[in-house]
Symmetry: C2
Subunit: 492 residues, 2 copies
Amino acid sequence: MFAKDFSHLYSDECNRRNQDKLSALFAYAQRKDVTFLGNGLPESKYFPWQSVSGTCPTPPFANGIDSCDKSTDTFSFQTMKNDNSNSKLGTCGDSSFNLARGLQYQAIEGQPAVLDFIREHLKIIHKVGTHYQDWDAILSIGNCQAFDAIIRTFCNVGDFILAEEYSFSATVNAAKAQGIKPVSLKMDDHGIIPEYLIELLDNWPADLKKPKLLYTIPTGQNPLSYSLSTERKKIIYEVLQKHDILIVEDEPYYFLQTGEYVSKNERKEVKFNNHQEFVDSLATSFLSLDNDGRVLRMESYSKVLAPGIRLGFIAGSSAILKKISAYHLMSIMAPSGFSQTFLNELLNSWKQTGYLDWLIGLRHEYTLKRDGALDCLLELIPKELIENDVVRVSPPAAGMFFTVELNAKKHSKFNGDKNAVEDYINEKFIEEGVIVAPGSWFAVGNPEEIKDIISSEDDGYIFYRMTFAASELPIIQEGIAKIANVIKFEFK
Amino acid sequence: MFAKDFSHLYSDECNRRNQDKLSALFAYAQRKDVTFLGNGLPESKYFPWQSVSGTCPTPPFANGIDSCDKSTDTFSFQTMKNDNSNSKLGTCGDSSFNLARGLQYQAIEGQPAVLDFIREHLKIIHKVGTHYQDWDAILSIGNCQAFDAIIRTFCNVGDFILAEEYSFSATVNAAKAQGIKPVSLKMDDHGIIPEYLIELLDNWPADLKKPKLLYTIPTGQNPLSYSLSTERKKIIYEVLQKHDILIVEDEPYYFLQTGEYVSKNERKEVKFNNHQEFVDSLATSFLSLDNDGRVLRMESYSKVLAPGIRLGFIAGSSAILKKISAYHLMSIMAPSGFSQTFLNELLNSWKQTGYLDWLIGLRHEYTLKRDGALDCLLELIPKELIENDVVRVSPPAAGMFFTVELNAKKHSKFNGDKNAVEDYINEKFIEEGVIVAPGSWFAVGNPEEIKDIISSEDDGYIFYRMTFAASELPIIQEGIAKIANVIKFEFK
């Protein structure tokens, strides 16, 4: 089976991208049978780094990844510029990557050693290749850059896309700046409501072009922290299939699946007896349900390794990825060779099992933080405020965030004016010395053309997004105490 | 004096870019007086690199940078994640950059330590700040990415820009893909012909919008290797000032100013007695002539340090740079923290004087390679082919390239059909085992609307671009011998 052809959805810009004959010459630079006077490649002897090295913790991180930061159970690697047989200082696995290559112009798609690791990882986690065989992965500079490249490959000015009604502002702003019109999809406690999506698309005005793609953050949604169930994903996939719409799944938090929140007394520690149990516990992705090659999965190393690496990948149909690479060729070219070198040394030393050990450790850490934050929040918010529909808390099962919802109508001032209450309470939070993100900042809104067909119910709640990620738990709990103080005072 | 306001030239996309309230919260993450529950920043203890290190040559590179690759006169640095007082292993200078910061989310504009170095460098080389004070620099991921971001900030679909008639295909293709229409500027042996530019703009059709910007590679132009004189730059600047047009100078080869080619017998080695003599020898940039803030200068570390670092910068009016940063915020976010860490350790160890030593060494190396390539070429091409207007060679004074021009009319086949001759001779080069870039690949062309006002003379020459950069000189000379063989056979 092969991926379907989605070339009728490409943007004008994508269709205007010329094949660059010049960059095709790079392929000759490595060949021994020709003399290469083609591209302006500097000789590697002029690269002023003779070697780079790094020290990293060694799997399986038996004492947890929290302590491995200071652990002496580490390995070191050194990547030499002039040594093909990569000098090894440590003991953890093998890797082959010479710095002369890491510092030269990079393959647009990414270094083969890095991509091979990612492809193998995708087979393990998402069983790619079982539905259609012409899939692939290419590197990106994180999910914002990946999304920018994807929408420039599919959308023209005036095109519609679908998005969760509250969503990540950087990506949504990128779409709006490009003149693309995001249409909000209503959500409940489990994410996008499939019935709403069906109604919207079945009643889509005949004189408007259908949306080109759905942009969704299925796991630990930002800002609302909900995760879409497999059941909903299957329905959504079929609906979008029917309407010829692509799916872009933005998954920075996929490996932060902290599981259902269980109250302190009944909590049991989740232990995985082996890697397969961990893999089986993970959410079914849109990518793994994809028969058509209509899903583009964006993953980032920002949350699982480090944001400063500025590396991620896009997985999907290789025909589509080629079009995205054609844009990369005339913009970013490729991600940093330093980042790729350090990622390669890490992952190919750890190997797939070591990386899974890391992800299991990370899941454990974020579960402790999620539990510690939510325990504190539920303890400090008076029960009667919850029972009287003043405050709503829906503990997250994934991601870095939790939300506190407040009923604006229950505030003594502003007559239920949500914006006014949101601003006012946020000022009180700042006065109390705690910084959070007001929910309205994430509101996607709707374009004029669509407003008629959208029934807008409003339950009068506002919300604030908060993270348990950015500090040690005691500090997060201090912040939550400040939040609770303001709420108690304002809604007493 | 302050930069002029060019906001009337901004693109629709630029004007639609929202200020992102969410990213503004990052500023609170460092503050001690508030509890930060704002953005999804992972704690640095979960970054799996405890330290990174590198080894680099030590200035002043007294034996040349060619030998310093294997030199033992090196220094090493180590950047620790958990150590604020950056552990030093070597002796070359000081720097402060902790890996926890290098691996966290980066400032969109770039790390202050890196930007401070670049600002100081720009003052030394281009005397920025003397004409207008509100200038600045921001990091980019190389000049292709910088140009992509600049044209998205100024150009709408259908807008015109000016470019050299032969130019770098990746940037020109990026503009064309965006629906921007590049207009060719005629060149002679000294680059853009000012009189041609004046005539073109004075006769610009009244019903068409003026071009938004000039895209130029002033030093060691790609592909033609010409460098614009200061005199021409001043005229061009005034003409563009009159017509309200911006200048984007793409300067990857600026520090490869190999000087006039002097024939082997009369050649004397150029020696700089001090750094100032070197600085004084450098071309006057458009940036240094800029009174208005209409120049955006793009520089890359690809040719002077290493392409894989994927780092460069844009210098110009800070008001314009803010608009470009607003795009970076919703796409690349910031260049790799690894790249910034290794650049910072290098440059802030070398300091400005050490970096100038490096650039002087690099200039020396490229001069040797340019001279060795041109000596060989002029020796192997029979004099009578040059005297009889069959072959033209214009030795370059900067950059990585040289060209061989051939008179298509003098070939026995194809009746002077330039495309046919170009393809045919290129095939012969490949058969002979040498890879070059045919000139037509760089032809910018002209949009339909402009063709009437353009007088097109054609002298019947085709050209091939060749580089002396990509290999050691003996290999380059092997390639040149193959070129000469083909030419001698085909035009005997």
